[in-house]
Symmetry: C2
Subunit: 459 residues, 2 copies
């Protein structure tokens, strides 16, 4: 079959993916270049929604899925003159001929689209154990796109499940545990590691596991999915290497990988976990091809190694940088230190920088200590427990990592540590910081400084 | 009269003032030097209490005055072997003969106390318009020591006042307004400037004035106290240059000055507002004499000029540094950037660095912008308004100041700006920071980054 080829203006910008990274870039280009042709292919019905908000929609904390949408395709078309084509999936990229092959999902037809410049912003996809029968049953869910979020919400509303098994104890797994607890389900969480949240050190992970149990989640640690008992497109139980757990629904929270499978044979260079390699301008190795968001590698500013992190902040930033450069402004994305934060009911968890296993792997000599203090003056009502763990380079005292677990008011303190790590501050620098204090906000020594005071003695 | 002279061990440490700075130093010296003689003269009955907590005790948020006390004189004596002498006021310092003249307030006797080393940590005292008759009436209060806090609480409990006039719209004035509102009083606040909180720029001050009015405080701006109508040791009305305001009680919140009047003739060098000049080790110009806390100057790290700030954080830090050096450890206090935070009912106010009037006075060319955004993802319940104002050096983009007004979750974000200012970060550095994001904690771009993005365009 010979496909039709759509030839746009020579400098047309084609963007694959209409969420955070893609639409940040599109909006930036539009601001700088009011007349440029911008075409966006988005495989779903939705643009610019908050994927991070999906668990809160499922929990009912956010009432409608529409609230998660920052800007609709219609708004992009009419207000911004951006040619957003929803329900269009890009099947492959032909960089030699500067064109992409597109499937119009509604019409069922395929065509070639020429581009002047191309931005790939296809995001990530949740890991799904496709070798296990039942992985695609009607009551088994990944959590990634708004569409999957709506599917889960509809399933809960319509079938009123009583028990859920979550597979995987990362951010998504924990946030989904919160959501399903709020919806009144009995929640079991199966985790391969000895503690949930493996982006935290095991001692901090233990505290999170305890917190999850306090909330009523049944944790099965050091267990692995082996089988899904299923019949008639419905899973009835999760089988692990240790037990059988009955389930009305199953949620995968086993991490995400970059959505780059369609780039096979495109000559676009991939790196860690098949994420797209870019330079600091978000350019790939192929001229006129850019990439941004969860489908790309990110430079870890502490280890100096590339990593793959799927995070809304990075998607927005790299989208903006890609858009700026595509529009002729030369700004750069320096990389990240791996800051992340998560709320699970009344608990707050945050981390930044490297963790012990990273430091051991990199052969960096380090010291570490953790301290527990309060989020407010000890006598001020609502003062909550906060535990801060710091990791610092052995001789220099340079901060390398920080982890926080606590209740209300704890987590956002990670930002001072992220700033400190990015700019090579030492523990003494942190102690010397003039941080804000009043009894409703902090003890006199902020908890991050109390932790630094303890650890500095070991330097 | 010939006074008796008490001669202690040759290396005895005498500390004047038993609150944050003095007792931080004493505790530090005790940890390093278990056998050293340490004598503390404290003019009140109390040691180591949170002066910052007094408004919350008056409001009833903190139930008892005891809760504000971290460690009692008795505990210092018995557990730490620190010879704390309460109700002892130091009247003068004779540096030539290394001795201080002390009044035993209970016995009414005076004596000379020799010292090996001396630490002055006498704090600040609230400004009181002593030229105005009635300033010392029974229903007129300053807010500084725990004793004055207890006096106010007793007065409210016993006389059930209905109306209060607060003179001065700084932190203490605003926190006392909150406290008295909570206690059910009608509160008027008289402020000399055109907006309250003159440590913020007038445009931000306007927002605070609005917030105060929303809370039910009657504000009289650009007005000055001229007279206190009084009879029988009781003020009945405050007279300003514009009106007469009836009052059951009057509170002074007109700032504090260093408590150094007793150093006249001591040869100890004073600086800004008669605060004691020290080096970074907290040594004064006189050998073996140290100073710490609210009675000292602080180096402003942005202007490079000395300033006077009375803040619990600085008192604790400089006390610790003085104690370390007195005990033979050579650590330094680098200075501060003027970070402060304040809660007034549901409103949060924070500031750091220089403000416009400082920059104009210093002749520094600057750009400034403010933005309003939300404390959480816009769709997440409890997302509150936050306004961030940034000031940056004109050509370099180096951050010079930050001011925040908002509701729950707003103020503590000042810490990232304080860290940025201390380490000479630019607006672009702030945009590039990997700050934490999840919908319950922040929009994708943290409000401080949104402000930096707006202002960077003007560089």
């Amino acid at each position: 079959m010979t496909l039709t080829t759509t030839t746009p203006a020579a400098d047309a910008l084609v963007i694959i993916g209409g969420d955070a990274a893609g639409m940040s870039a599109a909006s930036k280009v539009r601001r700088v270049q009011p007349n440029r042709q911008i075409i966006v292919f988005e495989k779903s019905h939705y643009t610019s929604y908050s994927a991070c908000g999906i668990p809160y929609y499922i929990s009912g904390t956010v009432k409608t899925s529409e609230e998660l949408i920052a800007r609709s395709p219609e708004e992009f078309r009419t207000v911004y003159n951006i040619d957003v084509r929803t329900m269009h999936r890009v099947l492959s990229v032909d960089t030699d001929n500067k064109r992409v092959k597109v499937l119009d999902k509604e019409k069922g037809t395929e065509f070639w689209q020429q581009y002047g410049q191309l931005l790939i912003a296809t995001g990530g996809k949740p890991y799904c154990p496709e070798h296990i029968t039942g992985h695609d049953a009607a009551n088994v869910f990944g959590v990634s796109t708004l569409k999957t979020g709506i599917k889960i919400e509809n399933f809960i509303r319509d079938t009123k499940p009583k028990t859920a098994v979550i597979l995987g104890g990362g951010y998504i797994g924990l946030e989904m545990a919160e959501a399903l607890l709020i919806r009144g389900l009995n929640v079991c969480l199966v985790n391969r590691g000895e503690q949930v949240m493996n982006t935290m050190d095991p001692d901090m992970g233990t505290l999170i596991s305890e917190a999850m149990r306090n909330l009523g989640v049944t944790l099965y640690l050091e267990e692995e999915l082996t089988e899904l008992e299923n019949a008639d497109n419905k899973v009835t139980a999760v089988i692990t290497n240790k037990r059988r757990i009955e389930a009305d629904m199953v949620v995968f929270g086993m991490g995400t990988s970059p959505n780059t499978y369609f780039l096979e044979g495109s000559k676009i260079e991939l790196g860690v976990k098949n994420a797209i390699k870019t330079n600091a301008h978000m350019q790939t190795n192929i001229p006129d091809v850019w990439a941004a968001g969860d489908c790309t590698e990110t430079l870890n500013l502490v280890s100096k190694h590339p990593m793959h992190i799927a995070l809304g902040t990075l998607a927005n930033k790299t989208g903006l940088v890609a858009g700026s450069n595509i529009a002729g402004e030369a700004i750069t994305f320096p990389g990240a230190v791996g800051t992340a934060v998560c709320k699970i009911c009344s608990y707050e968890v945050a981390r930044t920088g490297l963790q012990e296993k990273d430091l051991i792997r990199l052969g960096i000599e380090y010291v570490t200590a953790s301290t527990s203090s309060k989020t407010r003056a000890r006598y001020y009502p609502g003062a909550k427990k906060i535990t801060v763990k710091l990791l610092a380079e052995k001789n220099s005292g340079r901060l390398l990592g920080g982890q926080i677990i606590g209740e209300e008011g704890a987590a956002k303190r990670i930002d001072v540590l992220a700033t400190a790590i990015t700019h090579n501050l030492t523990l003494q620098n942190i102690i010397d910081l003039d941080l804000s204090y009043a009894p409703p906000f902090s003890p006199v020594w902020d908890p991050v400084q109390t932790a630094a005071r303890k650890l500095v003695k070991d330097i």
